[in-house]
Symmetry: C2
């Protein structure tokens, strides 16, 4: 259970980071950020002064926010005129998450809070949220157990001739009944995802989604995930789903096949397991994110699959893992250009994958937590190509 004590620790860490950056207070507007610090996701704004108690201002629903959150100071949202005195006139440098807050919102607060300067604290919030507490790690482990149970059922309903969409629907139905909350939160402005991907060999086409595989989807309005393509025997079926329970996301991928798999795909799969293990071993505090990516890319290259790693030739993503938690695209990212060191407690979905045009997509994905002994695995399901 999310305790008042844990929330207090999160707020305290935030206050230390604000103080370290010379920011006097944070005004958080993103629902998921507010949930992280309060335990309630209502339509609200959260004020965290560097030197005092947080204040939650609620538009809707005040009563539900009060029921759910142990935060002491929860109030109805004040009018624009009252806001400045409610928050206190002494706080002149105010942090906001400019990565996600729309221009109109920031303009409103600039108007009603005259004299303040607003600074971007997106990276502070994202970095803080990237390090998971034991409670959060247990939540993700719980999500992994739920998701694994549904993955284990796939052989019961995967049949040749069914559409990718039918397979997706069977998986989504079971996830949902097991308590999956449905909504997979993503932070990046250009991203969105419904549940996950259940795709067959035709999914070597590409799309906007920041991953190795996008899927054709059902229309150009929703160009990702399952399509109406029929699943055939002897082709790899990639099932890449997010499990979301109590807000916490786990991300896993397994390959299924009706019949048997092409030897080159099998070889690429074996390479993905080798990469996963090398990445896992490298996931210690202090390791540099992009170095881990380079290690993975070099292994793919050495195995002769460099041009297939993490996407179609020409449309390759330059990452091999991404943080997960309350959002699917959290920090850190094991990617080109991410020079930051890993921290103990960060949770990362590691997903070495290959796209072989004309043959299909193949790979593995599990979720790990960074520890002194390397990545500790949170998703317990054998790393096998499951033949049906």
């Amino acid at each position: 259970m999310l305790t008042a004590n844990e929330l207090q620790q999160r707020v305290s860490r935030m206050q230390e980071m604000l103080t370290g950056k010379g920011v006097q207070a944070a005004l958080l507007l993103m629902p998921v950020d507010i949930y992280y610090f309060t335990g309630t996701r209502q339509n609200s704004a959260l004020w965290i002064p560097a030197d005092g108690q947080p204040m939650l201002l609620v538009r809707k629903s005040l009563s539900r926010a009060r029921q759910e959150s142990p935060i002491v100071d929860i109030r109805p949202f004040p009018s624009g005129k009252e806001l400045s005195t409610t928050l206190g006139e002494a706080y002149l440098t105010v942090g906001m998450t400019f990565d996600a807050v729309p221009v109109q919102q920031q303009a409103y607060y600039s108007k009603v809070l005259p004299g303040r300067s607003f600074v971007d604290i997106s990276m502070i919030v994202r970095e803080l949220r990237s390090v998971k507490s034991p409670y959060e790690i247990e939540q993700i482990r719980f999500s992994a157990a739920k998701l694994s149970a549904v993955f284990a059922e796939v052989p019961r309903f995967l049949k040749a001739g069914m559409r990718e969409l039918d397979l997706a629907a069977e998986i989504e139905y079971r996830l949902r009944r097991s308590g999956h909350e449905g909504y997979v939160r993503m932070r990046a402005f250009n991203q969105e995802l419904f549940g996950g991907l259940a795709v067959s060999s035709g999914a070597t086409s590409y799309g906007f989604f920041d991953g190795a595989v996008t899927g054709k989807g059902l229309s150009s309005a929703s160009p990702q995930g399952a399509s109406l393509d029929e699943i055939k025997a002897n082709e790899p079926v990639l099932v890449d789903f997010a499990g979301v329970y109590n807000g916490y996301i786990v991300d896993m991928t397994r390959i299924f096949v009706i019949g048997s798999i092409d030897p080159e795909l099998q070889r690429a799969f074996d390479v993905s397991l080798d990469i996963q293990e090398a990445v896992r071993r490298a996931m210690v505090p202090g390791a540099i994110c992009e170095e881990i990516y380079k290690l993975a890319a070099t292994m793919a290259e050495s195995a002769g699959f460099g041009g297939n790693f993490m996407g179609m030739p020409g449309e390759q993503s330059r990452f091999v893992g991404h943080g997960v938690g309350l959002e699917l695209d959290e920090l850190p990212v094991l990617a080109q250009g991410f020079a930051m060191p890993l921290m103990a407690g960060q949770v990362i979905a590691v997903e070495p994958k290959f796209v072989l045009p004309g043959k299909g997509v193949i790979g593995i994905e599990n979720t790990f937590v960074v520890t002194d002994q390397g990545g500790q695995r949170l998703s317990d399901l054998p790393d096998l190509i499951v033949a049906v």
Copy 2:
């Protein structure tokens, strides 16, 4: 099918509106806005000069954008240094949708496009998108037929003792197999929705969602929609779902009951039908949105349900209908404070609902298009409380 001709008409209307407001060009960043004008939803930015041809700049996937969109000028996303000359130095007043674009994005474009002033064109884009073409109206009618077919099946699987979640899962499964795209796009910063609501009498609790009913949901991280509450006989079961096909959303609500309904709930339901019909008749071009809301609220008041209209006493929403299209929360809104006149072709989900504490939630919802003869209904399913 979405034709090049229809896209050209949308762009031309946009250009007229930009010219009318003295804006020289629009730089659109929201995926759903870009889809509206191009027919492709990739990770991209769309430039529409008031006096020339649109240009689509694509990060991922360029090849898919080219396959899907008839827009002639589709290019790889230029570097920050190149962007200014790519777009043209002569355009000094540039419109952006500040309602949805994050501060970081706007800051980036301000930096790489020096000398330009950026203005908010959110209302232009939203107003333009609110008026649907015959093609779009057919899309929404198609979505309504699909959603209605699933609603019609509810009596086959609704059983006393099942959890709200089980009912939701059965509905979502059938919607998905029929081609529902899963993702229900919402524009408002604080909103999110998974599929819809399948809730029983316990759903008289409240939440952040901008509607009459929120549902308890599965956790405080996802406090909306179906919960683990068991559905009992003789209580109203409210099924309020969005159907999303080819990107277009229809919104409908029906009430089911295992057994029979409380007479007061039945009376409130009858009032909701009267309100729906009065609103429908009032939905002519030129009618003022908030006047229609007031008409509805007055009817609720006269019937003795004023304190129950559109929410719990104390947490009532002050609207009775909302635009739908590519997003669930489009313009216009039949709400307090919306003084704008209706336009022919606008599509509105009308949803008079009542929350009776201790008894349950009840009401109706259908989707209509504004015509000279009043609202023309797009969702064909009888307006009955369906007893199982």
